[in-house]
């Protein structure tokens, strides 16, 4: 019996749960494009250095993707798919850098050592706007059109963190303690979202 309960406990400890988190805005509507990540209360294992390479491209004079989530210490490539040059920069506290990008000259990737929100701009195309959200967790995602994100996490106690570009202070995040036991979780944003202007461009708008 002792053995059986030990096995059960072990199984429970390592059992994973596909948790679907639905994010709502203050208007009680589902909210897409919210970055969500779960931080374990008690670290299950030592923080790892992600092996995966992340990519923040520039295509048609825009950052693609608009928002990229990167694990802490993750390396990000900035490939330029346009035939013109970009001059990518960030003045954000968690990572400040600049990068001149020609299509012909791939640059070394950039490592994001600190967690936080990094706002990207281009010194040549001042409408370009992108974000890199650096998180210290392997459990992250961005909500879809239904306001949902599904994360494969072990059951347990977590801090649910969220970020949206409509936050009044874009370097701040919202956090809440949650228990992952069932597969559905609902999160309501604590602040109203400011609509952000997106400037669409074409090939002749540089001049």
């Amino acid at each position: 019996m002792k053995l059986l309960s030990a096995i059960l406990l072990t199984l429970l400890a390592f059992s994973s749960q596909a948790a679907t988190i639905t994010v709502y805005n203050q208007g009680q509507k589902v909210q897409p494009n919210v970055v969500v990540w779960l931080q374990a209360k008690t670290p299950i294992s030592v923080p790892r250095k992600p092996e995966e390479m992340f990519t923040m491209g520039q295509k048609d004079r825009q950052f693609t993707p608009h928002i990229l989530v990167v694990e802490q210490n993750g390396q990000v490539d900035f490939p330029n798919a346009d035939s013109i040059m970009h001059h990518v920069y960030s003045f954000s506290k968690s990572k400040s850098f600049e990068l001149k990008l020609y299509r012909e000259q791939p640059q070394a990737p950039i490592t994001f050592e600190q967690t936080g929100v990094v706002e990207l701009g281009c010194n040549i195309h001042d409408w370009m706007l992108g974000y890199i959200v650096v998180v210290d967790s392997p459990y992250y995602g961005i909500t879809d059109e239904q306001g949902q994100v599904t994360l494969d996490v072990p059951v347990g106690e977590y801090t649910l963190n969220s970020w949206h570009e409509g936050f009044a202070d874009i370097s701040s995040i919202e956090s809440k303690a949650v228990s992952i036991v069932s597969e559905a979780l609902r999160y309501q944003l604590k602040q109203p979202l400011i609509p952000r202007v997106a400037i669409g461009v074409d090939e002749f708008d540089d001049y």
């Binding site: 013109i84 701009g121 409408w127 952000r196």
Partner: protein
């Protein structure tokens, strides 16, 4: 140090650094088969307003250019455009050569400075490589004139309030420049009037015009039968100011006021060039009805005068309306131009009044990234009061058809 020295220095810096530092070089060749009008082109000292005529028609290189950008530091970059033409004479030269200082700033307002030889950005018709138009091959009357007689040889500063920094749909830029040179600008408007073409003048070129009868009079005996548009004659500084207002990028508006501050009494006897007191206002607007269909329009109104007593004193005005529609790999563009010069002086022996209108229809097909094919048909009619004194009819009508193949890298 003269302006030519400065320009040459900038060009040399640009070329030398291109081979030393990371440079971005682009280029374009355009070959055209022209069915031209019989009226002799202004390029060949005729009164025809197109670039080609039946003597120059056939297959020829209509555009050849190299456009390069080199980064010297994070903020400084060198820019240059070299053009090659075979008409009227084989020529290779710079049409733009400047240094740009654009610091990376955390400030929400952005700014940059250009120093050297460049275009004031008053047109919305010419955003392609080397100041070409992606719409019609033949530029509007306004921008044909800008391409031949206008160039800033000086310094320009721009302060921008980008909508992105303020989470606003509106972006504004404010531009101010001061320059030397460009004193003879206006000469062609007085003795030829507006024209319709895509022949940009390189820095050291002169542009010939028809043997206007009044240049044989004592009053105009020192005026050469050509213009060196970028020459410095009076030693004075000119200036322009401009404003850009974008709503998203759907609506783009630009207003410029230009004054070369020419001293009309000043003349360079050795080159036969007067300083013309030339000033104008230009308003341009681009509006995208959809992602595929856009309207571009521009108006320019100004005056130009030369001679101690402003013996030649003219007003000029032009506008165009351009509609362009993109259909998959095809682009169709049609443009209407109106242009006029009015004679305000009392020198009856030198009539300068002219006017006309033109229509230009262009089809372009983007074969792949390198190749583009296209065809253009254009027609114009014009009247100039100085033509009868050369034994010509005051009124002419012209037509031109061109097939073009463009290759770029």
């Amino acid at each position: 140090m003269t302006i030519k020295h400065i320009l040459n220095t900038v060009s040399i810096i640009a070329v030398v650094t291109t081979f030393n530092v990371s440079a971005h070089v682009k280029g374009l060749l355009q070959v055209s088969a022209i069915n031209a009008d019989s009226q002799t082109s202004w390029q060949e000292r005729g009164v025809g307003l197109y670039r080609f005529d039946s003597d120059t028609e056939g297959v020829l290189l209509s555009q050849g250019l190299l456009d390069f950008r080199t980064d010297l530091t994070s903020a400084w970059s060198a820019h240059g455009v070299i053009n090659a033409y075979q008409d009227p004479e084989p020529t290779v030269g710079f049409t733009q050569a400047y240094l740009q200082y654009k610091p990376l700033t955390q400030n929400k307002y952005k700014w940059h400075v250009r120093v050297g030889g460049f275009y004031p950005l008053l047109s919305l018709e010419n955003p392609d490589m080397g100041w070409l138009s992606p719409y019609n091959y033949t530029n509007s009357a306004i921008n044909s004139w800008v391409g031949e007689e206008l160039r800033t040889l000086g310094i320009e500063a721009t302060i921008k309030r980008p909508g992105r920094s303020f989470n606003s749909a509106h972006s504004f830029s404010f531009v101010g420049a001061t320059f030397k040179g460009n004193d003879p600008a206006g000469t062609l408007l007085a003795w030829r009037g507006f024209a319709l073409h895509d022949r940009q003048t390189t820095f050291n070129e002169g542009i010939a015009f028809a043997p206007v009868a009044s240049l044989n009079t004592p009053q105009l005996q020192f005026q050469a039968n050509q213009v060196l548009p970028f020459e410095e004659v009076d030693g004075r500084y000119g200036y322009y100011i401009g404003m850009h207002w974008d709503y998203l990028k759907q609506s783009q508006f630009r207003f410029y006021y230009y004054d070369n501050n020419g001293d009309p009494a000043a003349i360079n006897y050795s080159t036969g060039q007067y300083a013309w007191d030339t000033r104008f206002s230009s308003a341009a607007w681009l509006y995208k009805f959809t992602r595929k269909t856009r309207l571009i329009t521009q108006m320019m109104s100004g005056s130009t005068a030369m001679g101690a007593k402003r013996g030649v004193d003219n007003r000029f005005y032009s506008h165009f309306i351009l509609l362009s529609h993109k259909l998959a790999l095809h682009r169709l563009s049609i443009r209407y131009d109106y242009f006029e010069v009015t004679d305000k002086d009392d020198w009856a022996f030198d009539p300068n009044a002219s006017h006309g209108e033109g229509i230009t229809a262009t089809w372009r097909y983007q074969l792949n990234q390198q190749w583009q094919l296209g065809a253009e048909a254009s027609a114009l009619r014009s009247q100039a009061d100085n033509r009868p004194l050369m034994g010509l009819s005051p009124r002419i009508s012209q037509q031109q058809i061109a097939l073009n193949a463009q290759w770029r890298f």
